[in-house]
C-alpha cells in the first residue's frame, strides 16, 4: 500500500461506495488486514465490499472517524470526557432500525470499542424493564407455550412476567 493513500473506498452490501480514512479504518481488524493485503493505490480498481448495509455503514464510519484521532495518538482527559458525551449522543438511535445492525457490524468488523458501546446501550435499555416492555423495545415475539409460561411463573415467584 502506498503511504500517500489517506482514504480508501469500500462498498456496502447495498452496493453504495463509501470513503473511509486510513486511520479510521484501522479501528477495525478486518479493514486493517485489507489495508495490508489489498492494493489501495489510485490505479487499483478493486473496491472491497463490506457486508454491512449502507445505513449502518454510514454510522460505523462516523464512529471510526470520530474515534480514530484518539485511538491513534492518545488524548487528554478532557478529550476522553468529550468523546464519552459524543458516544452517548451517537447511541441515541432506533433499536430495530439501527442498533441491531450496529451490534452485528461491530461484531463482524471486530470493533471492540463500538461493540462494547452498543452492548452497553442495549443492556441499559433492558435494565428495570418488565418482560412485556423488553419484548416491545426489542421487537421480540413471545414464543413460549402457555404451559412453559406457567412453569416460568412457578420457578420465579418473585418476578413479574407481565
Amino acid at each position: 500500500m502506498s503511504s500517500s493513500v489517506e482514504a480508501i473506498t469500500v462498498l456496502s452490501s447495498d452496493g453504495d461506495e463509501f470513503k473511509i480514512t486510513v486511520s479510521a479504518a484501522k479501528l477495525s481488524k478486518p479493514l486493517n488486514w485489507m489495508l495490508e493485503d489489498v492494493c489501495f493505490s489510485d490505479d487499483c480498481d478493486e473496491v472491497p465490499t463490506i457486508e454491512v448495509n449502507s445505513k449502518t455503514l454510514v454510522k460505523v464510519i462516523e464512529y471510526c472517524e470520530k474515534h480514530a484521532p484518539r485511538a491513534n495518538s492518545g488524548a487528554s482527559d478532557s478529550d476522553a470526557e468529550e468523546l464519552k458525551k459524543w458516544d452517548i449522543e451517537f447511541m441515541k438511535m432506533d433499536v430495530k432500525d439501527i442498533l441491531f445492525h450496529i451490534l452485528m457490524a461491530a461484531n463482524y468488523l471486530h470493533m471492540e470499542g463500538l461493540y462494547d458501546l452498543a452492548c452497553q446501550t442495549a443492556a441499559d435499555l433492558m435494565k428495570g424493564m418488565t418482560v412485556s416492555q423488553i419484548r416491545k423495545i426489542f421487537h421480540i415475539k413471545n414464543d413460549f407455550s402457555s404451559e412453559e409460561q406457567e412453569q416460568l411463573r412457578r420457578q420465579h415467584p418473585g418476578c413479574s412476567f407481565d
Binding site: L103, A123, M126, I134, F138, N142, H156, F161
Partner: protein, 259 residues
C-alpha cells in the same frame, strides 16, 4: 427483526451480563432464544466474583463446582460459604450480586468469653456457624472485631449489622443504650447508641431467624486503594448492670439497602 433470534448468542450473553442479575432472571421469560442466553454460564459468570473459585476451595463446600453458574449464584445468595476456619461467611446479595460477609462469634473478640461462667459457645440449628456465643452473665459487655474491606465489592456503601437473638432470661438490656463505634484504618469514623430490647427501634427480623440492628456504614473505594481495616465495637458497662440472655451470631457487612 427479532433481536433474540438475529444476534449471536455470545452477543446476547454479553448484553445480559451488562444488566443486573434481576434483569437477567426476568429476561429468561421473554422468549425461548433469550432464555437460552439468560440462563447461560457466559451471562452469569459476570455476576459472580472473580475470586469465587478461590473462596469455594477454601470452604468445606465441595459440591458447588458442578452447579451451572446461575444455580451457583442463586445458591450463594441463600447458602453462605464458611471460610477462615468457619469463623467467617461469604454470600451474595441477591439483587445486586455484591459480596456480603459475616464474622461469626468465634471470629470476634468478646470480653470475658474465656470464662464459661460468663460466656459460652453453643451449637444451635439456626446458625450458619458451628458455634454462637451465649451470654450467661457479665457486668461489662463488650464485643468487637475487625475486618479488611478489600474483601468487599468496590465503590459500594455497606451497612454494618449486629446479628443476635435473645435467650430465655433477658437481663440488663431493657431500655438500656448500648454503645457502638466504627473506626476505619485507625481513624474514628462514627459512633452511636442502640437499644436492643425491647426489639422495637431499628431491630429487624431476618429471614434466617436472627435479629439484626445496624451499627454503622462505610463506603468501599477502588481496588487500587487496597482496602482498609474496619474496627467495630459494641459495649456497655455503665453502672455495671448485670447482663444476660443474648446470643451473638456475628457482625454482617451487606450492601446498604435502599431506604
Amino acid at each position: 427483526m427479532d433481536m433474540a433470534r438475529v444476534l449471536p448468542k455470545d452477543c446476547m450473553c454479553k448484553i445480559l451480563s451488562l444488566t443486573t442479575p434481576k434483569d437477567a432472571c426476568r429476561s429468561s421469560a421473554v422468549c425461548l432464544a433469550l432464555k437460552n442466553s439468560a440462563d447461560s454460564d457466559e451471562t452469569w459468570e459476570a455476576f459472580l466474583p472473580a475470586e469465587l473459585e478461590h473462596l469455594v476451595a477454601q470452604s468445606s463446600s465441595t459440591n458447588l463446582n458442578s452447579l451451572a453458574k446461575k444455580q451457583l449464584y442463586l445458591h450463594l445468595c441463600d447458602h453462605p460459604l464458611l471460610l477462615a476456619g468457619n469463623t467467617m461467611s461469604f454470600s451474595l446479595d441477591k439483587e445486586s450480586g455484591k459480596k456480603c460477609y459475616m464474622i461469626g462469634a468465634r471470629g470476634l473478640w468478646i470480653l470475658w468469653s474465656h470464662v464459661p461462667k460468663y460466656w459460652s459457645y453453643a451449637s444451635i440449628q439456626e446458625s450458619r456457624f458451628p458455634e454462637v456465643a451465649v451470654l450467661h452473665q457479665v457486668w461489662w459487655f463488650e464485643v468487637k472485631g475487625n475486618f479488611n474491606t478489600k474483601l468487599l465489592s468496590q465503590r459500594t456503601t455497606y451497612d454494618v449489622l449486629f446479628v443476635f437473638q435473645f435467650g430465655s432470661e433477658i437481663l440488663g438490656f431493657a431500655d438500656t443504650s448500648i454503645n457502638f463505634s466504627l473506626n476505619e484504618s485507625g481513624i474514628h469514623k462514627s459512633e452511636g447508641q442502640v437499644a436492643l430490647y425491647p426489639p422495637i427501634i431499628g431491630v429487624k427480623q431476618r429471614k434466617d431467624g436472627w435479629l439484626e440492628i445496624k451499627v454503622g456504614e462505610f463506603y468501599t473505594e477502588d481496588e487500587e486503594d487496597g482496602g482498609s481495616i474496619l474496627e467495630f465495637k459494641l459495649w456497655d458497662f455503665d453502672d455495671y448492670n448485670e447482663k444476660s440472655g443474648i446470643l451473638v451470631e456475628g457482625f454482617e457487612f451487606r450492601p446498604k439497602s435502599p431506604e
